[in-house]
Symmetry: C2
Subunit: 351 residues, 2 copies
DNA sequence: ATCACTTGTGGGAGCGCTCCCACGGTACCT
DNA sequence: AGGTACCGTGGGAGCGCTCCCACAAGTGAT
């Protein structure tokens, strides 16, 4: 019995079958129309569409998911505590890009935080249950097990910022190498002779690339390499400060600094101030990220901007393609794709 | 966890039936164990649990949703552009509360923005497809059609901030009336004699309640009512400014102002400054919301704090209860529930 | 006229679950 | 002893879709 539990017979939502009856066609045909198959005659299509409209038919997602073995949803996984998500514009920009790419799709976006162990546990179950067709992974640390878990579960995934030069996942990144070059070339172009670099955490691939860009830009400009001009930082303010102090000690003659992040630059600025160096008169300073602090620093900080929103859009499109590829067990082309987007130097008073 | 990834000999994820076979029981029994039914013997339960663990069984959500006619998901609908969501701490606090209430639940949270017409269109389809079991509605404007749409679709919903005294939806609100009283009583307690009020948009129910609280607090303190001390605002800075100017014109002797929002207070502060009144020496000022600007204002603003996170938690619990009630077509008790949470006065230098 | 395609269509067979009825077994009554 | 309660359990009957095979009808070449 059981037919109509909670709702009345005519009160429930119409089903495919009911639409078919109304339109005087078979179930399969309605399904074809709903899914936009080309193998339907114009007349039939019109009839079905009329029936759909009259009945107010809306497909049942659960039934579709069960039958077709897909969920029509992707997840944006943020392996950070919620706080950072709200604090850092990075995430809202990213979210905007993802949303834009999804906006004319049937795909649904799930936002999942995995900052705490507890949340990670939930996420693992979530993925094991294959509740999404694909995953967007942002801000992943080098030793995070998440990417491997995803490959093992054979869930399509796109990562922002590859973990290494031979990242196995499809990835989208901004041009860390090129961005660093832009910064350094800018400094040289302004007549600076002795450009130092405070790196980021070197277990982050992007930070390595920035060092490479720094080195190559100097070399190409005919400046001789000087490892004494490079000091290790860790993206933090305190790290920037310490690194700057070390640099001033070693090379008091430096007249420019390229810092691997704006926050690092803020730390460097402190150390410079304390050493009595004026910015930009004595020492020019360039940061990376073009975050809010860059604009509000005194003096405002020249910085390398990454096209975050565009990255979000690109990641989403790549993921959608990957999901689509996997649909009818298409030719499994394990062609890994790495997309790199250009950065932009935002010039301000610090350089 | 699941030693054998997801693939078994049969290639796919294990099903209920496979678990049943493995445990030597029937399909129904496994279902009962999975869903925590008490009508299973201890021995059987253990056997099933062992089989589940060995096989790494994870229920198929789509199948469950289809058979049980539920989704195990609720939506947090934000009828605002994304920007506001990220800018205003209100939303992150709310989200934190909702997350907390959901954290030991199987329920999934969907975050849905409905700021633009386009997004609202999508939302409508979304709801029509019954893709969530319930909806959390925050920051709803008085004339928003969303609440009615929800009732019509018979989707359980909880609203933050009832639209009127006889809100039909279950609602959670902070005690606007009591908060206003706190503010005014505080001012009187500090010896202020002539307390003015700049209201919010009076088509917002909460703003009306604040006026009521203001009036009653004055009356109970034995101050005679004076409508000249009340001026209409609209929650905006400019509105606060204009209202303050009007008040100063009418009642130059006022020595305290209770503004319906921090932003309004900021506008009032400007007008006071321009009129040469010192805060708090000449005029004491109290705001509402305890937002970031309250802390950063000069002088820091005394303000009424609403327990946003707690409201989120309460809303979620009410919604979960409502969803559960509706499960086996239980006694449809149309008992509307309105929960009101206490506010707290945060005293700072402005009063 | 026959054959070989192509195109549009109907509908059976599931997808993996929940719901619920039926049934054998025990326990407690009369 | 028979009757009446329950348990705990197995499994049929769907939930509303998609997939795919079968088949009628049309097209053109032979």
């Amino acid at each position: 019995m059981a037919s109509h539990g909670v709702r009345g017979r005519s009160g429930g939502r119409p089903t495919l079958e009911e639409v078919a009856a109304r339109a005087g066609v078979g179930r399969g045909t309605v399904s074809r129309v709903i899914n936009g198959s080309p193998r339907v005659s114009e007349a039939t299509r019109a009839a079905v569409e009329a029936a759909v409209a009259e009945l107010g038919y809306v497909p049942n997602t659960a039934a579709r998911a069960l039958a077709a073995n897909r969920t029509d949803a992707i997840a944006l996984v943020v392996p950070e505590p919620e706080t950072r998500f709200f604090t850092e514009p990075y995430f809202s920009d990213m979210l905007r890009g993802v949303g834009a790419a999804l906006s004319d799709t049937e795909m649904q976006l799930l936002l999942i935080f995995a900052g705490s162990d507890r949340e990670r546990q939930r996420l693992a179950e979530y993925l094991a249950a294959h509740r999404v067709d694909g995953v967007l992974l942002v801000s992943v640390h080098a030793d995070d097990p998440l990417p491997d878990m995803l490959s093992q579960l054979e869930i399509p995934a796109v990562i922002s910022g590859p973990r290494s030069a031979d990242e196995t996942l499809t990835s989208v990144d901004s041009d860390n190498y090129g961005g660093a070059r832009q910064a350094v070339e800018h400094l040289i172009g302004r007549g600076r002779r002795t450009v130092a670099h405070i790196t980021g955490r070197l277990d982050v691939y992007g930070a390595q690339r920035r060092v490479d860009g720094y080195r190559d830009a100097l070399r190409d400009a005919g400046h001789e390499a000087d490892e004494l001009l490079i000091e290790r930082g860790d993206f933090s303010e305190e790290g920037g400060r310490r690194a700057m102090e070390a640099l001033l000690e070693r090379r008091p003659d430096l007249d420019a600094v390229f810092a691997a992040s704006d926050v690092t630059a803020a730390g460097a600025r402190q150390a410079l101030r304390e050493a009595g160096r004026r910015i930009p008169d004595d020492v020019a300073l360039v940061g990376y990220d073009d975050s809010a602090i860059a604009r509000h620093m005194d003096p405002p900080l020249t910085s390398v901007r990454q096209p975050i929103e565009e990255m979000g859009r690109a990641m989403t499109n790549l993921l959608l393609a990957e999901v689509a590829d996997r649909r009818p067990s298409a030719t499994r082309e394990l062609e890994r794709r790495q997309m790199v987007l250009a950065t932009e130097l935002v010039e301000r008073a610090s350089s």
